[in-house]
């Protein structure tokens, strides 16, 4: 895929970026009093053309809110972008109206979700729903669009696509529905695909198929991808670069090899340490104590400090910022200046 230095240059010199998110803060109304809390805060990242950026985090980390903000799909009554900018091919998206956003979605950027059963309309055939997208965005006639839908189903490896195009969503298996979802998302050849936990609901042998398919299609069509997942194993398989999120903030961004070989934020290291690994035998897991704090009751200072084995009194003093420690590697930690911090603990 992309050489590792690609994204770095991209963030330094503007033109090579496809998507540039800066200081994005999205808030939601909660409870009876309508008080707003920030689901994500000061989120910044960029995606270069053809690149795969994985956003990884546990529940409540804000990874899905980030993607919905980019797509302009926040629930209109309760969610809004409070600050920040989202630039796609240099064009500011946060100020676009619904009609303009609709023109971009599907055509330029497109999204697939975890559960394709709820993303398809159960009363229309798969073919009709894909054709509808093509008619809308590519101004083709319905018959041509339907023919294209068959081609798309063939492209994503659905056997007997000509027959399957007339299937209703419930007539397909979970894996096949996810393929159909991918076919729909890619039918207008977007430059950016956002995949939100696309394989989480699938069995592991089917997940392997879908991941191979996505990687293959991405290489063939040259599109960029934001891959949202909680599974570090999946991250290792698909990503060029990784953003790790925790409690609404990005806490580390780095090329994929660095995230796994030399994580610098204690949370990233702890998350890797808590994973059961195939072949590790009965080695004891090293869990992270406690749980992710609810967004309404975040601790003062570093949000991870309550669970961090490296926390010191000063971690409560102020919020750490996301600092660049080397080209392409950003870390949010007060103690990041102590380079062998994590290595010492590992040995």
């Amino acid at each position: 895929m992309r050489p590792d230095q690609g994204p770095d240059q991209a963030t330094e010199t503007e033109p090579a970026t496809l998507l540039e998110v800066r200081g994005l803060t999205t808030c939601f109304k909660t409870g009876f009093d309508g008080r707003e809390i920030n689901a994500i805060e000061e989120v910044s990242f960029s995606v270069a053309p053809g690149e795969t950026l994985a956003i990884v985090g546990e529940s409540g980390s804000g990874k899905s809110v980030t993607s919905l903000s980019v797509m302009g799909l926040l629930p209109p009554q309760t969610g809004r972008i409070a600050a920040g900018s989202i630039r796609f091919r240099g064009r500011e998206l946060t100020t676009l109206d619904n009609t303009a956003m609709r023109g971009l979605r599907g055509n330029m950027m497109s999204m697939i979700f975890q559960e394709p059963m709820t993303s398809f309309n159960p009363v229309y055939t798969i073919g009709h729903q894909i054709a509808e997208v093509i008619v809308l965005h590519q101004k083709l006639g319905y018959r041509l669009a339907l023919r294209k839908a068959v081609e798309m189903l063939e492209l994503v490896g659905i056997p007997e696509a000509r027959r399957r195009v007339d299937n209703f969503p419930h007539q397909m298996s979970g894996g096949m529905r996810q393929r159909a979802m991918i076919a729909m998302a890619l039918s207008c050849e977007p430059d950016l695909l956002i995949a939100d936990e696309p394989t989480t609901a699938l069995d592991v042998t089917i997940q392997a198929q879908v991941l191979e398919l996505l990687k293959d299609l991405q290489a063939r069509m040259g599109m960029a991808m934001i891959f949202i997942t909680h599974d570090l194993g999946v991250v290792a398989e698909v990503a060029d670069r990784v953003c790790v999120m925790y409690a609404g903030q990005i806490v580390e961004t780095a090329p994929v090899n660095d995230i796994f070989a030399a994580p610098r934020m204690p949370y990233t290291a702890a998350l890797l340490g808590s994973m059961p690994r195939l072949g590790a035998g009965r080695d004891r897991l090293v869990p992270i104590p406690g749980h992710v704090p609810p967004l309404s009751r975040l601790p003062k200072g570093c949000r991870f400090r309550g669970r961090c084995s490296f926390a010191r009194p000063e971690c409560a003093a102020g919020e750490p910022t996301l600092d660049r420690i080397e080209p392409g590697h950003d870390v949010r930690c007060f103690r990041v200046g102590e380079p062998d911090l994590l290595q010492r603990s590992a040995s």
Partner: protein, 335 residues
Amino acid sequence: MFDDKRTETAPGEPLLRVRNLRKHFPVGGGPFRRPPVAVKAIDDISFEIAQGEVVGLVGESGSGKTTVGRTILRLTEPTSGQILFDGQDVAALTPRQMRAQRKRMQIVFQDPDASLNPRETIRQAIGRALRIHRIGTGADREDRIVALLEQVGLSGDYIDRYPYEFSGGQRQRIGIARALAVEPEFIVADEPVSALDVSVQAQVINLMDDLTQRLNLTMLFIAHDLAVVEHISDRVIVMYLGKIMEIAPSQTLYDAPRHPYTRALMSAVPRPDPTIKRQRTLLQGDIPSPINPPSGCVFRSRCPSAGPECASIIPPLEQVGPGHYSACVKNRQFG
């Protein structure tokens, strides 16, 4: 030192012996429909679990793994076969005898949100288990509940709290405490960590590991995640479409899987190491519907090594090594 004791295979008498267990669910039927057909959720499986042993049961959707767990406790009635627990056939017990039997056999469910009543405090939820099984009285019960909470790493002060006041990981600890309340010998854990975040999942896995050792529990640990299962189990049973494909000690299963399905499953698990560029055995197609499974070997429709003979022979589970069994007609070739 604990590990040494546990990696020995099957010491002593088996506590649980499952023989030719079948569970068929009728589907379809009705006045204007074709006659009902049977989904063979479990189709003639046999295995044993030794006293003090943790056996993992893995499989994908439709493998029947959850039905196995539920049938052993008779939360689902078996169609045929024997479930011998400590020599007694659980499948033949009357409902009243079964209730008494459940003091010895308990289950931990996947989703503590669905298995804990939201309107009951912890005291009520666990207290009911004690009351039904006539364990302790009044004040003694409170001490027991506090001790149970502490045993699963929660503060005894939480006794009058409601489930919503806890995080997902804490709720699963409560589910475990409730199962342990009647001091069972045997526990079925049905995907107990699947709904939890990775960092919390590790806490609960370690807790279950500690408890099984400390209380000398015997456990059937059901999960779809091979890495989790391998981590906690002494032996692993791999199921596919209602049949057992392979049984092996954990380490053997990882080092030398014999069945083509186990091999494919193993190679499909994403590894957290971006530098591995491995050759994958990518299985083609979907898991067939359990209503209409392939003839002969149920795995043959997706098997990379299937031959014509696989369509006609139902491969029996054969021993291929110490404590290692595989159900494949090509067992000898794969040695």
